[in-house]
Amino acid sequence: MSDKQTDAKKSTGEAAKTEPDAPKDGAGTSKGGAGGTPLHGLIAEYETPGALLSASKKVRDAGFKNWDTYTPFPVHGIDGAMGIKPTVLPWIVLGAGLTGLATGILLQWWTNTYDYPYLTSGKPMWSLPAHVPVMFELMVLFSAITALVAMLALNGLPEYSHPLDLKKYFARATDDRFFLVIQASDPRFAEDETWKLLEGTHPTAVDRLEEDRVTPANMPRPLVFGLVLVVLGALVPFALIARARVSTSEKPRIHIIPDMDFQEKFKSQRMNPVFEDKRAMRPELEGTVAVGALEDDDHLYRGKLGDEWAREFPAQIPISDSTMKRGQQEFGVFCAPCHGQVGHGDGMVNERAVELAQGTWVPASDVTQEYLRKQPVGELFNTITHGIRNMPPYGPQISPEDRWAIVLYVRALQRSRGATIQDVPEADRGSLK
């Protein structure tokens, strides 16, 4: 828009203007220029938007490029009259909106799912419905800020000084006058001809517009200094955060929201004066069953068929590779510490207890021994559930399905103990030799 490198030749040597701050009454009464001040362009003033529109069309058709109009309000049709091409702003805003959307997704994935997984309300770590509001807000935020900043940038704003600032009458562009400025930088600009062209558009006045030599070209130092201070001040919180991340402190943390940090609620294992027995944790009501805790399948939950121990696995437990692998894994976690990795009763806990010889230790059984091989699977399941001798019950820790998987794995260990070559599938026998 502004071009400080205006060709100065045109205005040199012209007569000084008598009234630099008032438009001429009627067009072209004087076109003197201040000696030595380069010409920025010519300005014409109109009384109505209609006059401005028709003037714009003439200037457009004359082939000018570096020119603009100034109006107190958006004038319908001015875009077409000036021949303004559609702006790229919507594409920039679309890009910013999509960036905001992606930022919202990444931010929440990184903070809540990846870097610091934090369970909220029992929802999955990655819960799209909970993330949508932030995605939406960031999309709007990025779009809105970009729309403003890009609009200013595309218009070359903010501008510290402009030749129009020197024309007092130009203030009426915010009130009741319409202006048109053709810049001297336009290749078609020739002062006399352009002046005539503008005169022919029925303006109320035409005026020369000189380059601004009154206002300093650069920003005043105090303003620059103040802006730098603001920018530096904005960095202080980030510096404090960075410092806090790498240092330790002995001061107790600040409780910004005390009633969230110290909530008036009863925690488990604490006293609650409301109830007669003073327990905060409430026992189950007599005659009730929690949702999903009915366990009315004797075979699956207790390993029993009628009064007998079940000799078959329950229908809910598939005899498959995946059940076997699960059983192996759970055996390794819960059983192997005492019974050993292959169940010979030589786990590390057992070895150590025997070594201490305190007299209270009943050695862990070899799960592959004869009498256990003959035991029905239901009874093995029952042993895992309720424990035996000094083996504690594992029912509360291991789900019924996993306990059955362990039984399946124990059966595999038992079979492998006395295995012969006949137990290996024919295709695999070669690999053993």
Partner: protein
Amino acid sequence: MAEKVSTDDNIRLDDLAPKVFRIAGVIGVAALGVAGVLGASAGDQLNQFLHSYLVAYMWALSIGLGALWWVTLQHLVNAKWSVVVRRIGELLAANMPLLAILALPIIVPMLMGNTSLYHWLDQAHVAHDEVLSHKKPYLNIGFFMVRAVFYFVFWAVLSRYFFKRSLKQDESGSPEFIARMNRVSAPGMIFFGITVTFAAFDFVMSTEAHWFSTIFGVYYFAGCVVSVHAVLALVLFYLQGQGRLKNSVSVHHYHDIGKMLFAFVVFWAYIGFSQYMLYWYANIPEETVFFKVRIGGDWFYLAWFLVIGHFVVPFFGLMSRHVKRSRFWLGFWAVWMLVAHYVDLYWIIMPTMHAERVSFGLVDITSLIGLASLLIAGTAYNARRVNLIPTKDPRLAKSLAFENY
């Protein structure tokens, strides 16, 4: 300028109105007849028919209600751009008495003791149902009928008021009518909001009588506004194709209709998601039951169709100004949104009957064709002797000269 228009442009339907009325009327009556016969012969106590009819009816009603809202809004904000289009909205909204009559196939079986559609009508069932017996002061046949009559009377009176005043102004040209309609539109809008909300509760939400959602009325309203802008665009395309309003309605008006369509596609998604997210987050069985059924079985695919087809795809599709200014693309998205809105209502209402399977059948299609045709016939009937533009509206010149960027 107003005089210039009436001579320059063809603003009367003339013989087109009775032609459209006859064709659409015959198709409509025949299709509804087929739907009724198929429904009655199914021997399921009209279960399928009532559900299919309710879906199609709420779809047709949403166009009428959307039009009524739109006309009220134009008066409320003293809109200038829309004056050349407003009569079309008035004609659509003036179908309210017809829509009241078309509600009878739902209401009459209720009065005759049919409980297929609304289980809360079944007294024996309610007696054993803790939740429904508490809801009885609201959900009972007497109060329901009182409310229904109130809704339809209010809608009919308001829509006919705007229509008649606007026609009177065509004759006298007095700007006084504009001021009066402007005054009526404010309380009209308030009562419109209340009646639409409760009508959506009564006719749709109570099919799932245990469930409740305070935002449900707004959700239905969003669908109303989406469909009316789609219909406005399509009606204008049709009229201009028939040589009407060719010099009055320009690409600038289409652009604004497109903007509103785009805005309310987003609004629908905003409301739909707000409803979903709160229930998803709280995860309380009595609230999530609605979605549990509607994302189970085949309905899962319809639910995703709504997310993609009622929001994501049209959102990007309608975003560009070039699309809103293109007859083909605006028409394409208008049809698309009307279909998506039907799927939306189908997805809301039908799972109460078919919990797992989507069984879209002949009764659904004939009900939809029947109600859509009767709506077209009713609009043509309303338009038979009127100008398609409010010729004496003082803002007409501004609307004709309207430009959009």
